[in-house]
């Protein structure tokens, strides 16, 4: 309270102190004062929210994503799946601090950053990072950790494409290469003020291209190069623990509010819209997938409802700050049904073994979400996007999608081939049949 009073007297927070009448005169006045006076100081509310948002994203990865994925594999591979998510998330975090942040968010390049912030050189607890509102800042360390969680979880997301059949060493080596040469440049292109797609005007509020298309296509490329699981198509490979999947999906859903709403970097009015969009699109997609299954496949399943929720979360990720609530509902309906089709029919038609449907849910959902920004985000569709022409914006969105697909796909393929011809991708067939848990990790999840 005391701190607040001091700030009010200080002048830059005058508008807040003088109440509603002055507030309606608009932020411009406050900012003009900001510029004229001292450098902006982080608001404690923003800072507190961003720390919580970061924690929520950590919860999405571990245990959320680990449970979601671990439940879908067979019981002999559940620990290997947990480990892949857990350790990739950890490695990604360390690499982010060592060089990731510097490459992604520093320097003048449109594609790559520079080395000036290696090991966060030059940052102190007093450093601030800009937000989307002029004159509003958050502590740069908070921005660094928030972004670290994105880099780390995205890399872990992709393992769903080639789960249950890849050596742990190969998975980790792939993760390091892909993190460095795909995640970092794409994140920079889309989110950094000097980035190519950012300057082009591509809309991606919380990571449709950077996170979901990026990881989704990388996972599919992995599924293709690593090859199918032994016995795929002849032996049943049902999920071993759907309660894990349900719990994982629910943790992801809750954590996603940190992911999407946190991407606004401020605890402001707009955050309410982003929260609402994220919530309602997810709910609609869970209903759409369940009812789609019920109608076309006979029964509504728990795995289906959980998958639908994730598909909705993926699709609303790029568009949560662009569409209105009605747009979010439409998007949820479409993505729930399209991703169901992608997992149930498209996968069968094309014959790839994307074990946990990273492509069907994350890549397809991400593409729908990215493109939806241009349509559902337009003012005529109830959106809050500031672009004028749907057609032009759709072209920009498609460019972002295309660059991500090609870039990530290529980096992923090169990494997998490098590993294939050096340390090898797959364990022996006997090891795969017996399970990765006992052979690669020397542990067993369950007694039987």
């Amino acid at each position: 309270m005391q701190e607040d009073k001091k700030r009010t007297k200080g002048g830059s927070w005058l508008a807040r102190g003088l109440g509603a009448a002055l507030l309606t005169m608009g932020p411009a006045m406050a900012f003009a004062q900001d510029a004229a006076e001292a450098a902006p100081v982080p608001n404690k509310g923003d800072t507190a929210w961003m720390i919580v948002a970061t924690l929520l994203v950590i919860m999405m990865a571990v245990p959320g994503l680990a449970l979601f994925y671990g439940g879908m594999v067979r019981s002999k591979n559940v620990l290997s799946t947990f480990m892949q998510v857990f350790v990739i998330f950890s490695i990604g975090t360390v690499l982010w601090v060592i060089y990731g942040y510097s490459f992604a968010f520093n320097g003048p390049g449109e594609w790559f950053g520079d080395t000036s912030r290696f090991l966060l050189k030059g940052l102190t607890a007093d450093s601030n990072a800009a937000t989307f509102t002029k004159g509003v800042v958050i502590p740069e360390y908070v921005f660094v950790v928030f972004q670290a969680t994105f880099a780390a979880i995205t890399t872990a997301l992709a393992v769903g494409g080639f789960a249950e059949r890849t050596k742990f060493s190969a998975v980790l080596l792939w993760a390091v290469i892909w993190f460095t040469f795909s995640y970092l440049p794409i994140a920079r292109m889309v989110w950094y003020s000097e980035g190519y797609l950012f300057k082009l005007g591509a809309l991606d509020y919380a990571g449709g291209t950077v996170v979901h298309i990026n990881a989704g296509i990388a996972g599919l490329v992995g599924a293709l190069i690593v090859g199918k699981r032994t016995g795929y198509g002849t032996t049943p490979m049902p999920p071993h623990n759907i309660p894990y999947v349900m719990m994982g999906a629910s943790l992801l859903w809750a954590g996603w509010f940190g992911f999407n709403v946190g991407s606004g970097l401020e605890a402001n009015n707009f955050a309410g819209l982003v929260f609402l969009n994220t919530y309602v699109c997810t709910a609609m997609a869970a209903v759409a997938w369940s009812f789609g299954e019920w109608i076309f496949k006979g029964k509504p399943t728990m795995l289906g409802a959980a998958s639908g929720a994730i598909a909705g979360l993926v699709a609303i990720t790029p568009s949560c700050g662009v569409v209105g609530p009605s747009g979010a509902i439409i998007l949820g309906l479409v993505v729930g049904l399209v991703c169901l089709w992608a997992c149930a029919s498209l996968k069968k038609m094309l014959g790839y073994d994307d074990s946990l449907d990273v492509f069907g849910v994350h890549c397809i959902g991400g593409i729908l979400g990215a493109l939806s920004c241009a349509i559902l985000g337009h003012a005529s569709m109830g959106g809050v996007g500031t672009f004028e022409s749907i057609g032009t914006q759709l072209g920009i969105q498609a460019t972002g999608v295309g660059i991500t697909l090609v870039w990530s796909g290529l980096v992923s393929a090169i990494a997998f081939y490098l590993i294939k011809f050096t340390i090898g991708l797959r364990p022996s067939e006997d090891v795969e049949r017996e399970g990765l848990d006992t052979n690669e990790h020397g542990e067993r999840a369950y007694d039987n």
Partner: protein, 112 residues
């Protein structure tokens, strides 16, 4: 003495137990098993993919009793475990040569 081995639907166990207890059966042994007969498994759906599950979970119930009461017990089991659909299970009847109650070392029908 006879040993009755019944392969039944797992959710029928409570009915079976009550029925045979009414006939004075004092001990039963239950094991979780999987297998298939004419039912030939069932299908499950995961994310739109249909899996044929060949080995269906069943319970194997074993009861040893004297020759005279076995017929009534078989009758009772087949009554309560029947739904009329494939997958109701089977009952096997086999002669038992000897039985010993470990605590008292009684043998024969008294031990069963």
């Amino acid at each position: 003495m006879k040993m009755i081995t019944a392969i039944i639907r797992p959710w029928k166990l409570d009915d079976l137990q009550m029925a045979v207890a009414r006939l004075g059966v004092q001990g039963i042994t239950v094991t979780e098993v999987t297998g298939y007969g004419r039912q030939r498994g069932h299908s499950e759906h995961y994310r739109g993919s249909e899996y044929q599950v060949e080995f269906v979970p069943k319970l194997r119930v074993e009861i040893v009793l004297d020759d005279n009461s076995s017929e009534a017990v078989v009758e009772a089991i087949s009554n309560v475990c029947r739904t009329g659909k494939t997958g109701d299970g089977k009952i096997f009847l086999a002669p038992v040569g000897e039985a010993v109650r470990i605590r008292t070392r009684e043998s024969g029908a008294a031990a069963a």
